[in-house]
Amino acid sequence: MVAKKSQRLSIGLVAASLLTFAWATARAADLPGAGLTICLSLDKVNAFREGELKLWRKAAADLGVKLVEQVAGEDAQRQSSQVDTCIAQKVNGIVSIPWDNQAVLQDIERAHAANIPFATVDQAPADTSTVDAHIGGDPTSDGLHAGRQLVALVGDKPTTVVDLQGALSAVNGQERDKGFKAGIKGHANIKIVSEVPTEWHPEPVLGGMENALQAHPDLGAVFAATDGFLPPIWSALQKANRYAKVGDPNHVIVLSVDGDPQGCAAVKAGWADAGYATPIALMTRNSLQVIIDIVKDHKKIADKDRIQLIPGIEYTKDNLSTVADKVWGCSK
């Protein structure tokens, strides 16, 4: 009797498992990217890329795409070699954040020679006409809004500014800087007293900030090309006794781009005045979707959709409650 019951139970369990498996398989097959393998070639790893990678994995799961992840560790040769590996593995498409915007052109050519579509994200190649799609933030717009925000915050008050630039070899570094300068142009009371090229590394930030604070103890504002610079900025301000919240007369205005968790926390807590969140959820999903469209639906991407530059979201303490769900670093 007991044996029969146990047998029935086993059969039931096996049947349930099979049904679940069949349902999951059918559901996966229904997903738009089912059966596709996309190679994801990242230039480096940092907090921002970790955030992007998390969203890419989520988008891949939602779309039913299998991701092959490669990280180049800031080496153009390694990235090129990894792209070669992806081509040899006959992936259905390649999505890349190129480390070198010139060197990636050869990678694109090799991928196309093997009939593999190639999309870039975040960092545009030197010649965007070569790529099937480029999806990025709008670094000029982010910098421009940061500049305008500074103008609004200081009014006519004479203000000295430190400009912490990203890598000047990267489009994002160049354009955020250019946009910020355009935003403050025509306001003679705002003066950039120090420009610090950082190559996206936090080490030069600390030195640059310390030097600027030494030369200008009354420093008024800092523009950071990435939230990754916030820890050394805090460190330098603390050392100079200028680490104070918004509203405090001792406060130094801080504006930074990215919208990562530390940027969100800084604005929420009142240490930073405004942030510019890159819309990475949209960027990551669109990059996979574009490959699916090309490969599965043989869709020719219209020229206006081929280059998508999505402006960032400006967030301050005042509007954070309404825009927090769009700032990727604020989401749990």
Partner: protein, 368 residues
């Protein structure tokens, strides 16, 4: 013992596979040449086993496209390890090789950008490489400075100049000829690999078949003996650094062919793999022992493993761990083989002396 036998035992690959190194041939008749090859190329059995295992365990490892990828990956590093091997053989080290490749590529790209002439671009690369090599050589030979310090200072300076010239940006829009040849295959082999291998083989032949090569080994293993033999060690050091610089210039041009761009950071990630490949191959860091074939084998092993790890989905930090561990192991293996060779050499000397004494004894008995 012949005065140059010690030297023969320390060489590899291109240099002396004739079995002159003695004891292996003497102790295991018939297997001498094979053992000698393995002795001269300690990484060869490891490569053979690795290829065998990986071809069965990794899907597509032996595919034509994967093998071509490995070759492409080897192209620049083959030239860089050739220069590094020469410098290490003479008892030096070149930390500026990566930075030299970066600056030479940037200057070559600028020249090609303005003239559209690949030949002038190549000449610019060679000139910059030669200039850096000459300065290194001058500092080490005439200045009497430590190679580590001279080339370390050079690395920082040259890298900074590269950044000053470009603002950190990479330079593209190279002549079509450079881009096309970079993607070209010759008899199924990537042209960039053929170039890299040709340079390595040529320098291997120079090292093994010329008096210049003999001098490098002697000066590297025993500078005092070399000086007594009439070799100008300082001049030789200058020449070796100069050649290493020129090779960095060649590597810079091949780098541009491969990537279609030049950047001051081109060689930033090349220094450690270069030294790793040379050490792993079995060239001694203290000079006088090793060879280019050994370094090629070290570079090949690293390239094979990196590509396999890439296919398996391992990230670059995992690859770095493997290269680090391998370099340490290779270095330990090299040291162990070196000790064994010294022991064998001493034993042979004793045997020789013993035979001589016995022969002399017989001769004395006969005359008495």
């Amino acid at each position: 013992m012949r005065p140059d036998r010690h030297l023969d035992n320390r060489r590899s690959g291109f240099t002396d596979n004739s079995g002159r190194s003695g004891s292996a041939r003497a102790s295991v008749p018939g297997f001498g040449p094979l053992l000698n090859i393995f002795r001269n190329l300690p990484m060869l059995p490891v490569i053979l086993v690795a290829v065998l295992v990986l071809s069965f365990t990794i899907d597509g490892f032996m595919s034509v496209s994967n093998l071509q990828n490995i070759m492409r990956q080897l192209s620049v590093i083959l030239i860089a390890v050739t220069g590094q091997t020469l410098v290490l053989l003479i008892g030096g080290i070149d930390l500026s090789v990566g930075a030299a490749i970066g600056l030479a590529s940037v200057c070559g790209a600028f020249v090609m950008h303005y003239t559209d002439s690949p030949m002038l671009g190549l000449l610019a690369c060679l000139a910059i490489g030669a200039g850096i090599g000459a300065l290194n050589g001058f500092g080490v030979s005439r200045g009497g400075l430590q190679p580590f310090i001279v080339t370390f200072g050079m690395m920082l300076t040259v890298r900074a100049i590269g950044f000053l010239l470009t603002g950190g940006r990479s330079i593209g829009k190279l002549p079509k000829f450079v881009l096309k040849t970079g993607l070209m295959n010759v008899a199924g082999l990537p042209l960039v690999f053929v170039l890299g291998l040709s340079v390595a083989v040529l320098m291997g032949l120079v090292l093994s078949r010329t008096v210049f090569g003999e001098k490098i080994y002697l000066a590297g293993s025993n500078p005092r003996a070399a000086a007594y033999s009439g070799i100008s060690v300082e001049q030789l050091k200058f020449q070796v650094y100069l050649i290493a610089g020129v090779l960095a210039g060649v590597a810079a041009f091949v780098f541009m062919m491969r990537l279609g761009a030049a950047t001051p950071t081109a060689g930033d990630q090349l220094l450690l793999p270069t030294i790793g490949a040379v050490v792993l191959g079995g060239t001694s860091l203290t000079g006088g022992e090793g060879g280019i074939l050994r370094s090629i084998s070290g570079a090949l092993l690293i390239a094979i493993l990196i590509k396999s790890l890439e296919i398996m989905g391992a990230q670059f930090w995992d690859q770095m761990i493997v290269i680090g561990a391998l370099t340490a192991l290779g270095s330990a293996l090299g040291a162990w083989l070196g000790r064994r060779r010294t022991k064998e050499s001493k034993r042979e000397d004793l045997m020789e002396r013993h035979r001589q004494v016995v022969a002399d004894g017989y001769a004395d008995g006969a005359t008495n």
